[in-house]
């Protein structure tokens, strides 16, 4: 953007800031005036309405600053912080170099400087209470809500190891080393004991989720690494809270009273705090899910329940002195699936968007305030030895801890974590606002060196966020030495590259990469039968029942024949039925909201390229027409490929991002692929089956998937029979059979990356119909177009027989046009 616009923004911010300071000054002045007014009896001030003096005339306009003071300041600060974020985003050159969090902190410095200059005191600080109660919960809720569950739980063991053992190690090592150095005299004279050192170590030990996300967002790392660091940053709060409270209690008790009993209590309290916090989170998740089951009538505000209950879970855990962060995390993690299934699509979108707004907004404010708080001479105590040694130890012990633990974990893993990843992981151990909040809430009567600790914490935070954030990207680039060759790939290479990715993804799925073992299967079964019954709306559950995987198992010929029979009976009958349920049915069967794992937040620069005209110029008076044509073709072909190749799962892979929120980006693609797959399977199945004429009848099947062999085209399931009259598929006698037909309940769940999909409809779009090359001779009287529609729509199984047919036919007419985003 032009420098002038940036400058104008800067000026605006500064102006607002100046106004802030002036008003706060006015506030101080007027409050002092008030005091003086009340102390000098009888004297009236100016026409300020704050005085208790009597007014002499009717005031037209009064200055009501003190009425609005607090909300005004809050709102103004929020505005200023967000403007800083805007400014940070504007300068793209700066943005690519600095991570955004660093820029925000620096803006905080500037703002803090202005305030300090105006007031000679830091009137606006990051107060721990405000931070912990108003700024942090929504960030963690957002984290939990968008957590890639499957990835998280499959790596839970490693995450826990790092979170618990790693944090304890960090705390103990830093504390003890500092104490050792203190004893050795490196820090001069301080009033600190071992316990206080341990306390300090424990508050510095925790990797901060806010900072980690902010930095890792800009660095693309592989998903295992990401989830390890991310999960660790969340779960270590359990440990941090315990350690902090335990050592705080020890410090109050005094060194003498600590015996084995107290230590055991400390260890027990860890388990209580951690599991208790998680349990509260789960309880609230259940509450939320149950609630959304019944809020169908208040769709407008049902989104709000998530936030309120999430916040309550945080406060409840805090009230019980359990781990509030764990509580909110698990609340989000557990409720996401059911909430997404139960709520209306618009509410789901509303929740997601609002979450992102709150989380991002809070994060911005936290970083800005972290900067502002620094400009305060009151808290700055400089002790070179202490500060430098702390920095050193924090870094070194982080590396040691990560390497050691990963070495242990690698021995039990099929895929070892490489050295590069370990380095990135150690480097990504950022400390953030949580550490500062804990430091600021220390009791200074007991801990004499509180200011020193605050200073050191701030410096550590700045160091990790700014410096490590700055160097993270270059480091990653430098470590990953293999680089793609800059030459433009040929077409065939591009095609093959993409093909490889797809094949690889297929192979990974075939060989059961993630979580296909007894545990996960057992849990899935348990969850399917009991939990979803309890927590999901009946319709949502029914829609989940259309198990995709049954697609290939179910008796396709029955469906085909049913459909062709229905076809024969004339389509008009179905067109006449417009049923409200069908519309709802359609709406519920959307793909988007329930597959957060699929949502890709990666921004592919390539795909944003607009293709130039795709048509070869037909008229060209150029002598070199032929060559131009070739060039164009070449150009177009490359563009086409870049634009239209399906992205493989590797590129789809979920990336948690606080600042990007995109719906539907890759979902259409995935849906397209899915539809095609289904259609081709249907075709192959049909081609395998047509021509076989066993006499069978369709009967009612309650909700069970028939498990029959289909390899030789004959179904051995005796309970299902077809009314194949003769090879012409005449269904003259079938009418009666069909009227008695019941709904074919097919359990259809689409479980991609572990998230169960409520429902999925295969609705062929206009384009897809071309791909039906096969059209049986026997059904020649039916136009291929209509076959393709109906036959796959036979899987739009509604509940009641009456609506079954209508649901097949009517949604298919209007949905044909928007078949890709059902």
């Amino acid at each position: 953007m032009a420098p002038y616009s940036q400058l104008s923004f800067l000026l605006t911010v500064l102006l607002i800031f100046g106004a802030l300071c002036v008003t706060s000054k006015v506030q101080i002045q007027s409050s002092s005036e008030r005091q003086s007014a009340s102390s000098n009896t009888g004297s009236t001030g100016e026409s300020t309405s704050n005085s208790s003096a009597s007014i002499t005339t009717v005031p037209i306009v009064t200055w009501k600053w003190h009425h609005v003071e607090t909300p005004y300041l809050v709102a103004l600060w929020i505005l200023v912080c967000w403007l800083c974020k805007l400014m940070a985003q504007l300068n793209s050159k700066l943005k690519s170099f600095f991570p955004e969090s660093a820029l925000l902190i620096i803006s905080g410095f500037i703002l803090g400087g202005i305030v300090w200059g105006a007031d000679k005191a830091q009137t606006f600080k990051l107060v721990p209470r405000n931070f912990f109660y108003f700024l942090l919960p929504q960030i963690i809720l957002d984290t939990g809500y968008f957590m890639p569950n499957k990835l998280f739980f499959s790596n839970l063991g490693a995450i826990l190891v790092h979170a618990v053992i790693g944090t304890c190690w960090n705390a103990a090592a830093v504390g003890i080393s500092l104490w050792g150095c203190y004893l050795g005299g490196a820090m001069g004279n301080l009033q600190i004991g071992l316990l206080q050192f341990l306390l300090f170590g424990s508050l510095l030990a925790a990797v901060d989720p806010v900072a980690v996300i902010a930095v890792f967002e800009e660095v693309h790392v592989n998903e295992v690494l990401f989830i390890w660091v991310f999960g660790e940053s969340l779960l270590n709060d359990g440990v941090t809270v315990v350690l902090y409270n335990v050592f705080d209690a020890f410090v109050s008790l005094g060194g003498e009273k600590i015996n084995a009993g107290e230590i055991i209590k400390g260890i027990v309290s860890f388990f209580v705090v951690a599991f208790g916090g998680s349990l509260i989170g789960v309880v609230f998740a259940i509450l939320i899910s149950l609630l959304t089951k019944y809020t169908g009538k208040v769709q407008i505000i049902e989104a709000g329940f998530i936030f309120v209950l999430g916040y309550l879970s945080y406060l409840t855990a805090e009230m019980l002195s359990l781990s509030a962060i764990l509580s909110v995390t698990f609340c989000g993690v557990c409720c996401q699936k059911y909430v997404n299934a139960n709520m209306d699509e618009k509410s789901v979108t509303a929740v997601r968007y609002a979450m992102k707004v709150f989380a991002n907004g809070s994060e911005t404010m936290i970083f800005v305030f972290l900067g502002v708080t620094a400009i305060d001479t009151d808290i700055w105590v400089w002790n070179t030895g202490f500060i430098l040694l702390t920095l050193l130890f924090v870094l070194v012990y982080r590396f040691m801890g990560v390497f050691f633990l990963t070495w242990i974990l690698n021995r039990y893993r099929l895929v070892p974590i490489e050295l590069i990843d370990q380095i990135v992981m150690s480097f990504g151990g950022l400390r953030g606002a949580v550490a500062y909040g804990l430091a600021a809430s220390l009791d200074e009567t007991r801990i004499k060196e509180k200011n020193l600790m605050i200073t050191t914490t701030l410096i550590v935070v700045y160091f990790t966020v700014i410096l490590q954030g700055l160097t993270m990207k270059p480091l990653v680039k430098w470590l990953k030495v293999k680089r793609v060759s800059p030459t433009e790939l040929k077409l065939i290479e591009k095609v093959n590259n993409r093909a490889f990715e797809h094949i690889l993804a297929a192979m990974e799925d075939i060989s059961g990469r993630i979580g296909d073992n007894w545990w996960t299967r057992g849990w899935k079964r348990f969850e399917d039968t009991y939990i979803t019954w309890f927590l999901m709306k009946p319709e949502a559950r029914k829609n989940r029942d259309y198990l995709f995987s049954i697609f290939h198992k179910l008796n396709l010929e029955d469906a085909i024949n049913y459909v062709t029979e229905a076809e024969k009976r004339g389509s008009l009958a179905f067109l006449n039925q417009t049923d409200g349920t069908i519309v709802n049915f359609e709406k519920k069967l959307r793909f988007s909201g329930v597959m957060p794992d699929i949502m890709s937040e990666l921004d592919f620069g390539n795909n944003n390229v607009q293709p130039t005209s795709d048509t070869v110029p037909s008229v060209s008076l150029n002598i070199h027409e032929h060559e131009m044509k070739r060039m164009n073709e070449d150009f177009n072909a490359h563009h086409l490929l870049q634009q239209h190749l399906y992205r493989s799962r590797k590129n789809h892979r979920h990336k948690y991002s606080r600042s990007n929120f995109s719906i539907n980006q890759s979902e259409d693609e995935v849906q397209e692929i899915f539809q095609r797959t289904m259609r081709s399977r249907l075709e192959s199945f049909k081609s395998a089956k047509m021509g076989v004429t066993p006499a069978k009848k369709i009967t009612k099947h309650p909700k069970k998937d028939p498990n029959h062999k289909m390899s030789n085209g004959k179904t051995t399931d005796k309970s299902k029979k077809h009314p194949y009259g003769d090879e012409d598929f005449e269904f003259s006698e079938a009418d009666s059979a069909y009227s008695g037909d019941g709904p074919r309940r097919f359990k259809l769940t689409l479980s991609v990356a572990g998230v169960e999909n409520p429902a999925f409809i295969v609705a062929p779009s206009q384009g897809a119909q071309r791909y039906l090359p096969w059209s049986p001779r026997n059904l020649h009287r039916l136009a291929p177009l209509r076959i393709s529609d109906r036959s796959t729509d036979s899987f739009l199984m509604a509940d009641a027989p009456a609506t079954e047919e209508s649901s097949e036919e009517s949604p298919q007419q209007p949905s044909q046009r928007d078949g890709t985003h059902m």
Binding site: L414, V415, K482, K490, L491, I492, E493, V495, N496, N497, A499, F500, E501, I503, L504, A505, A506, M507, E508, D509, I510, S511, G512, R513, D516, N517, R521, S549, H552, K553, E633, D634, N636, A637, L640, L641, H644, L645, Y646, R649, E669, V670, E672, I673, F674, R676, T677, S680, R681, S684, N707, K709, M710, S711, T749, S751, V752, S765, G767, A768
Partner: protein
Amino acid sequence: MGSTNSTLSKIPNAGDLMQETGFSPAHIVRLYDRYKALDKDKKGHLCPQDFGAIKELAMNPIKQVCQEVLDFPSFVRILAHFRPVDKNRPKDPNSPEHINSRSNKLKFIFQLYDQDKDGKISRQELLQVLRTMLEKQVTEEQLESIADRTIQEADLDRDDAISFDEFRKSMEKVNIEHKMSIRFLR
């Protein structure tokens, strides 16, 4: 581990398989478990429908990974193609190439493209592959032009089809060992 050995003994020809593919016993056992899990009807072999049951595969445009019936050794052999190339394993010049060597990996891919198994990827086959990988909006003419260009780039002897050697030559610069390896199959 004890359980590995006992399961290993249940698998027929486990020793030969390990020798041929280079998988470790733990891997063979794990693949066997997976094989059994996929074979839901306990037929003893895998048919295309079983692959259809894998939900994630529906998201994958490459559909015809396997059209025929697979028994366990073939299953393992196919997956063995995707093992990362083992740099440390000594290359015995007399033994046949490792199943996960670069040229074998390429051959596997080639066979996926070449459906009629005539040793060449014809224009039609290429069209089909492209069709599956490109979005619906791409029209037939665009598709054909892409296919033409692709063949032109790779086809050296101008027979309008890509033979295995031409394929291999066009893939020279691509890091096959990396792209066609699944790390956890090491």
